[in-house]
């Protein structure tokens, strides 16, 4: 089912939940709503579900405005973070509930519930009470209940947040696989950018009720259109510096206090064309390296830093370093054996450097 949101807004006397959200979702597409807590993801999703009445704007399913259509008539299934199962019913009771309301005949209910339950790997738990299930099983029941009525649109509201990391990983794959196999359009709300990046065809990044960007995952990562998106997508988050762009001997340099780095010509020219005295420069932690045999110092792109913090992440170490008084995060190979207090030389890979207008926080490279 094709979904179009046009200037969709929701406010409760003064409190803004969602502010003029406009986006379209193609049939069969998997879209993630990504943003920090309180940015309006759930609000937008509940408007799509028909639970919240929009204060403005329209929602269209396959070209028809559905603003006034009741939730039960929208052909949707929804999975909640809290699972929202009915604790007084068995697993069978929960999954069959939508069908029982539709007065589907008993044998068909049995068949369809069993089929969905088998698909979710809970086929042998149908007689269990909800409280007798683990969190992962409960979420499978909830997913089964959403799927059993064969919806045309699946809505997920942070469905994996209450599960442990391992289970989250498995469920992530399973949800994605199910969605692809069944070809159902899906909206997936999450504050976890890894989840969004790995699962979604396109990601809608939200902040403060406003849609910040709507793009395919790689574009969000490589061509962030706002500083917010750049900082939110990618983990650990991007480093930002206030810099001036200076042209010297046909070469462009980013300068501010202790920072002085040579820039690639194409990006620097675009940034300089914005005509701003100051810009915000963004460099990802994974684009900064420790200088050693494998990574020789590059002229004009090397700075000396002191290591303040070392956070082991397993395969890599996340370093908190300072170049004089400028703080930044650097992601390095664990084998480099970085230790707190060391003075090290850092080489900057500037090929994917980003620049933002300090006033509007919009990218000066991508529009």
């Amino acid at each position: 089912m094709r979904v179009e949101l046009e200037n969709l807004s929701k406010a409760w006397d003064g409190v803004v939940g969602a502010d003029r959200i406009t986006l379209d979702i193609a049939d069969g597409e998997f879209v993630a709503f990504l943003g920090p807590s309180g940015c309006g993801k759930t609000t937008t999703l509940l408007m799509v579900a028909g639970i919240y009445k929009p204060s403005g704007g329209t929602i269209k399913f396959d070209g028809h405005v559905v603003n006034e259509v009741a939730p039960k008539d929208r052909g949707i299934g929804m999975v909640f973070q809290s699972y929202a199962l009915y604790p007084h019913m068995t697993v069978f009771g929960n999954i069959s509930y939508p069908l029982r309301i539709q007065k589907v005949n008993k044998t068909e209910i049995k068949e369809r519930v069993q089929k969905v339950a088998d698909m979710m790997g809970i086929g042998d738990l149908l007689d269990r009470k909800i409280v007798q299930l683990s969190g992962g099983q409960q979420q499978r029941v909830s997913l089964g209940r959403a799927l059993v009525k064969e919806p045309q649109l699946l809505l997920f509201d942070e469905p994996l947040s209450n599960l442990d990391a391992r289970l989250r990983l498995t469920m992530r794959g399973e949800i994605k696989r199910l969605q692809e196999e069944m070809g159902i359009t899906a909206i997936y709300v999450t504050h976890d950018q890894v989840e969004a990046m790995t699962m979604a065809d396109r990601i809608a990044v939200m902040s403060g009720g406003v849609l910040q960007a709507y793009d395919v995952p790689t574009d969000l990562y490589e061509h962030p259109k706002t500083q917010f998106v750049a900082g939110f997508v990618g983990n650990p988050p991007m480093n930002f510096f206030d810099v001036e762009i200076v042209a010297m001997d046909g070469e462009f340099r980013a300068k501010s206090g202790s920072i002085d780095l040579a820039l690639p010509r194409d990006r620097a020219e675009k940034a300089a064309a914005a005509g701003k005295d100051k810009l915000i420069m963004g460099v990802r932690p994974e684009d900064i390296y420790l200088v050693d045999d494998a990574e020789p110092a590059a002229p004009g792109r090397t700075l000396t830093a002191a290591i303040e913090v070392v956070e082991p992440l397993g395969r890599e170490d996340l370093l908190g370093v300072t170049v004089n008084d400028v703080e930044m995060r650097v992601l390095v190979d664990k084998t480099k054996g970085a230790a707190v207090g060391d003075n090290v030389d850092l080489v900057f890979d500037m090929s994917s450097v980003q620049f933002f207008d300090p006033e509007t926080e919009q990218s000066v490279l991508w529009t």
């Binding site: 509940l46 579900a49 028909g50 639970i51 009741a70 939730p71 039960k72 929208r74 949707i76 299934g77 929804m78 909640f80 973070q81 809290s82 699972y83 929202a84 199962l85 009915y86 604790p87 007084h88 509930y97 939508p98 309301i101 539709q102 909800i130 409280v131 409960q138 909830s142 209940r145 009525k149």
Partner: protein
């Protein structure tokens, strides 16, 4: 309380001591009902010696008045449970879930009204009941000097508590469960009936119990708004035994009192488990 054995010993000792007066009271009540006279906890015969046991105090069970009083008590209590139950579960749900003009005022209003003692309202209620009694056809059943009228007043007096109690229980249920049900295809009424009510069963049980006891023991309202024995309930019947002119047979009063308690005791024995679970099992699960 302290730890280990000493702590436990003192807890038990304290609890035992504190129920002694109650136990003594009930023991006396039971002994008195089968005695002509008592001194302390001992039955006394005419000569002043121990003895004089009799079943004479229980002769009232052969009179129709006691059974009619019991029936009236039961009617009032059951009508209250039903009336308070329906109004509180639906009103409490609405107050918990819907936004509507006057919601806040209604909530504080009921709370304030609850603070007024029934005594203060007696005269006003009298006029209301008299007026209700003049309604054609149903008037005689819900007006002054009718069991229905008494039940109506008692329901009204109990509602603030009931509505607030149920609102509290509904407030504790996640909105998501309700949203899930609406997406699953349920309308408002179905959500309330099939999804929400089962979650607040402990609350309904507690409310039903409190209401039943309040109705069973109702005295002031039935005493004020009924005349004569036909519409008297148990407490009113009991009061009629204590006449101003003739000497009171306290042993018979004790017997009627005990008789009135019997249904409640049976009720408690069967619902004890439930009562203990009411607050333990409230909102487990999701």
């Amino acid at each position: 309380m302290g730890s280990g054995k000493t702590g436990r010993f003192f807890s038990y000792a304290f609890l035992t001591l504190s129920i002694v007066p109650i136990l003594v009271g009930y023991t006396w009540l039971v002994i008195a009902t089968v005695s002509t006279r008592t001194r302390g906890l001992l039955p006394i015969n005419a000569e002043g010696g121990i003895g004089g046991l009799t079943l004479g105090n229980w002769s009232f069970v052969f009179e129709s008045a006691i059974w009619s009083a019991m029936l009236n008590s039961l009617l009032i209590a059951v009508a209250m449970v039903i009336g308070v139950g329906i109004a509180s579960t639906s009103g409490g749900y609405a107050l918990s879930r819907f936004k509507f003009p006057g919601r806040k005022g209604f909530l504080t209003g009921t709370l304030v009204l609850h603070a007024f003692k029934a005594e203060m309202l007696l005269i006003a209620i009298f006029f209301v009941l008299r007026w209700l009694g003049e309604i054609p056809l149903i008037g005689p059943y819900i007006g002054f000097n009718s069991v229905g009228g008494v039940a109506l007043v008692m329901v009204a007096l109990e509602l603030p508590l009931g509505i607030w109690l149920m609102k509290g229980f509904f407030d504790n249920i996640s909105w998501d469960m309700e949203r899930a049900a609406m997406i699953d295809g349920a309308g408002r009424f179905r959500v309330w009936w099939q999804i929400m009510l089962p979650q607040v069963r402990p609350g309904i049980a507690a409310l039903a119990l409190f209401t039943f006891i309040a109705g069973w023991n109702a005295y002031l309202v039935p005493f004020t708004f009924t005349i004569g024995t036909k519409v008297a309930n148990m407490p009113v019947y009991l009061n009629q035994l204590i006449s101003d002119t003739a000497p009171v047979n306290w042993n018979q009063v004790a017997a009627v009192g005990l008789f009135q308690m019997i249904p409640l005791i049976i009720f408690f024995i069967f619902t004890q488990e439930l009562l203990l679970n009411i607050y333990a099992g409230g909102s487990k699960g999701t």
